[in-house]
Symmetry: C2
């Protein structure tokens, strides 16, 4: 029997699934058509073209990323908790986040979180441009960190010789450091530490 009538919604869902699994490069109109059991050209009727299909997926992702509850006693703790929640959400849809990002919609995606960050930054006593910078610094930090760590994850081989370089020079003075820098990154720890440091610095720094 023939398939049920194709809907835009159906196309979007199938496309989202493909992107989520194998990234945007894996989303070809022909594969998508095969997946849906229709002719390639039918898809065009529903979504226009590949680019606006991706746009629609991005819009959906932006809408999905909601508020992150702040936890902790001090403003600093609460900001860090929001940052961690945000990182968790972003890590769940790395491809889609990258696409949101490529389209310059990061700002928009962050509106709900911005709101709670503003609240905490105010509670810490910052105002005006200082407060705005603090909010944006945290935003940039989180998105930047996720982008960096995501790409690190699919790094190929650990390039050899790196260990040796460290062993030779600083190795004797500070073997623990050489070991750390030679080995893999503990992203969770690094994120927590760097976020805490950043927030502490932002909330206590002297006048601009």
């Amino acid at each position: 029997m023939a398939r049920a009538a194709l809907t835009r919604e159906e196309v979007l869902q199938a496309a989202a699934a493909l992107v989520k699994q194998h990234g945007p490069a894996a989303l070809t109109m022909r594969k998508l058509a095969a997946e849906l059991g229709t002719a390639v050209t039918s898809i065009y009727w529903h979504v226009g073209n590949r680019e606006s299909l991706l746009d629609a997926l991005v819009a959906r992702t932006v809408a999905d990323l909601g508020v992150v509850a702040a936890r902790g006693r001090t403003p600093a703790e609460r900001i860090v908790s929001v940052a961690r929640g945000l990182r968790r959400d972003l890590r769940e849809r790395p491809h889609l986040v990258a696409m949101v990002h490529e389209r310059g919609l990061t700002e928009r995606m962050f509106l709900p979180v911005q709101r709670s960050l503003v609240h905490e930054v105010h509670a810490a006593g910052l105002r005006g441009a200082r407060a705005a910078d603090a909010v944006r610094a945290v935003q940039f930090h989180v998105v930047g960190f996720v982008l960096v760590e995501r790409n690190r994850e699919r790094a190929p081989v650990q390039s050899p010789g790196e260990q040796d370089l460290w062993d030779a020079e600083t190795g004797e003075q500070d073997p623990a450091l050489a070991r750390s820098l030679g080995g893999p990154v503990d992203a969770d720890r690094l994120f927590t530490r760097s976020t805490r440091a950043l927030v502490a610095g932002l909330l206590t720094a002297d006048a601009p």
Copy 2:
């Protein structure tokens, strides 16, 4: 008259020029061949295929990014100055940096800078895993920031309504903040401030 013999070097240079101007997507084997005035297939003899051509470009970029001189009196100042120099270098070759990054070679690219960061972090009294984390936090911060700001730059239209959202809520309490968050980002200022805050936090933070 016929063109001079094609060399691998020639291919790499033409490819680098294409990527630097219009990004990796603009580098097609056929366009490259046209640029060089040879048959497409000649390129394959010299560089294998598109992927290893990109790999070669990446290797070149990694080799090019050298040391950044540290300036300033305190370790914190000197670390910030290295971070700024690094950001400047990265911003000059955004496409290539993105490619280095996609290949998971960021670490390697950073070796020279890592060395001077370690020096400064030691001067500030950090040792072992704490020191290693500080170095990496700065690395992640710089690369992450450049990635984020790069993508912000090619953002399409400023999505409307953002202003209104801020005016409505926080606008009355803190109009300067609403104005800041509604307007464009001053990336230079934001980078300096957030880097200073991060470094200050890293160097003064209490035990792990």
